[in-house]
């Protein structure tokens, strides 16, 4: 069972990141759910979605104690790090977040997602850098399933971007090797 929260500001691709993980889980015939924040909290710093991928029946799709938090900006990390289960994993975007101190009962992984994406020539794939890291560190779903999911989430006229997205995932995985 994996309960994950993906958070960042609008435009960082956190919603589609969560959606791809859900899609990939469905491709792997697991039970999945994806739920976005749609309330007033959308209007001030953090957009987020909660994703559950599990072999069991999904009880609550709403997550109060995530196993994994992906934070793409500071307000997201501030909000969701305290919610993590003891022993959970925080993956944060160190290009935008200078994490000085925090919990010591969790695994913390820093990825300079924007910098690595810039090196690839497209800052918009910062989310896929983090996706690569997430998959390398958790094996929640397989890389091949995400590649299939990417074809579903990206509209057909954007399929020219499949390559750079896949490269970004590879880079994100290599970074934490």
């Amino acid at each position: 069972m994996a309960e994950m929260i993906f958070a960042g500001f609008g435009g960082q691709g956190v919603m589609s990141m969560g959606m791809m993980v859900a899609y990939a889980g469905m491709i792997e015939e697991k039970n999945v759910s994806w739920i976005p924040s749609y309330g007033p909290e959308m209007r001030g710093g953090t957009a987020n979605c909660a994703v559950v991928v599990t072999a069991d029946e999904i009880g609550s799709p709403i997550i109060t104690e995530p196993d994994v938090v992906v934070a793409m900006n500071l307000p997201s990390m501030t909000k969701f790090e305290p919610m993590l289960k003891p022993g959970g994993m925080l993956i944060y975007n160190s290009s935008l977040i200078d994490r000085k101190e925090g919990r010591d009962d969790i695994t913390v992984i820093a990825v300079p997602a924007n910098d690595l994406a810039s090196e690839l020539g497209n800052t918009r794939v910062a989310n896929m850098i983090v996706m690569g890291t997430l998959l390398a560190k958790t094996k929640i779903v397989g890389v091949e399933s995400i590649k299939k999911a990417l074809r579903q989430v990206l509209p057909a006229h954007r399929h020219d971007l499949l390559g750079v997205n896949e490269d970004a995932m590879k880079r994100g995985a290599e970074y934490v090797k």
Binding site: V32, Y38, E57, I62
Partner: protein, 352 residues
């Protein structure tokens, strides 16, 4: 058809279309806007009509008209919009017309908020508008169940000539889950020989809810009541989860029932024999399910996203035989597994 990942609100639209709905009249309101958005895109593709009315009042009266003409028709809204539609809903129920109404509930009263709630339970199950009438009301707990029930709802509406309401909440509307559109078992439906389809070669059909002679109106009311009695006899639906040996039965529906299911498992890990009774129809209320519970049950705990509405029906069904407790959050707050667990522990005598 393979499973696809769909947002609840969009799945509502697709389910309706696959059930033969060709007319949608509505007015936008959060958190159900993806329903009209989806219908506006899909209905023209299948030769249907999508119309955004000037208000909720207009929309429900358009539903009244289309239903009177024998069409499969749907409207959707969220709490304040459903309140505006109540006059029309009462007329539709009084005129014995079939239609499907979606309520993706948000916190109230008044304009309230836009976060999920279940505080329209009374409105949905006890009438809502004026007069002695009831809607047939489903309360699905997942996107798949919502799809299955909507596809059936059009048949149920036609069968009873009565409006059917699907009561969801913001969570169910906004979340994505894998969904499959499966053919439903068709009911044997009578022809709509009452519909106003143009009276060439037959007598006029009149659709009306006005009956000024009290004796006639009373007769009409008893006829309606007979339908509700039949629904109570034949249509109650529920799910029992781990109740075989349960000492604490938790009663919850919709999104809340999913949270409670997690709580049941958590409590069992701690040695408390908990179970869940999940109503799927909330009118007719699944009273029959309570009779199936074992003697081991010591207490009930109703959990709702309201200040305590369904708990009254639980008390009626339990009929004083066991204590009925309540735990609820309101205004758009979703109860957490931890807080429900705490209440359950207190009822069962604290930590073990």
């Amino acid at each position: 058809m393979a499973k696809q990942l769909m947002k609840g609100n969009e799945a509502i639209g697709e389910a309706a279309i696959q059930a033969g709905c060709r007319y949608f009249f509505g007015y936008p309101i959060t958190p159900q806007n993806e329903v009209p958005e989806y219908m506006s895109r899909r209905l023209p593709e299948v030769g249907g009509v999508f119309l955004q009315a000037e208000s909720e009042v207009a929309a429900i009266n358009m539903v009244y008209g289309a239903a009177g003409a024998g069409a499969r028709v749907m409207t959707s809204s969220s709490s304040p919009g459903i309140s505006l539609k109540q006059e029309g809903i009462s007329y539709i129920a009084g005129s014995e017309l079939p239609c499907v109404i979606i309520n993706i509930i948000r916190g109230g009263p008044g304009l309230g908020g836009i976060q999920p709630a279940q505080s329209d339970y009374f409105q949905a199950t006890k009438g809502g508008g004026h007069g002695d009438y009831n809607l047939f009301v489903f309360a699905p707990a997942s996107v798949q169940e919502m799809v299955d029930l909507i596809m059936e709802s059009f048949d149920i509406a036609d069968y009873y000539r009565n409006p059917v309401m699907i009561m969801g909440d913001g969570t169910l509307g906004q979340m994505m889950e894998p969904v499959e559109f499966k053919a439903i078992k068709k009911r044997d439906l009578p022809p709509k020989d009452w519909a106003t389809t143009g009276c060439v070669g037959r007598e006029h059909n009149i659709i009306n809810s006005l009956a000024l002679v009290a004796e006639n109106l009373e007769k009409h009311n008893w006829k309606l009541q007979e339908k509700y009695k039949q629904m109570k006899e034949n249509e109650q639906r529920w799910e029992l989860y781990k109740t075989e040996d349960a000492e604490l039965v938790m009663v919850a529906y919709g999104t809340t029932a999913r949270i409670v299911k997690s709580v049941v498992n958590k409590l069992r890990e701690q040695g408390i024999k908990a179970g869940l009774l999940r109503p799927i129809t909330i009118f007719p209320y699944p009273e029959k399910a309570f009779a199936l519970l074992p003697d081991s049950v010591k207490a009930f705990l109703t959990v709702e996203m309201s200040a305590g509405q369904m708990v009254q029906d639980v008390r009626l069904a339990v009929n004083g035989k066991r204590p009925v407790h309540f735990c609820g959050r309101t205004g758009g707050i979703i109860p957490t597994p931890a807080e429900i667990t705490k209440v359950a522990m207190e009822i069962m005598g604290g930590e073990r």
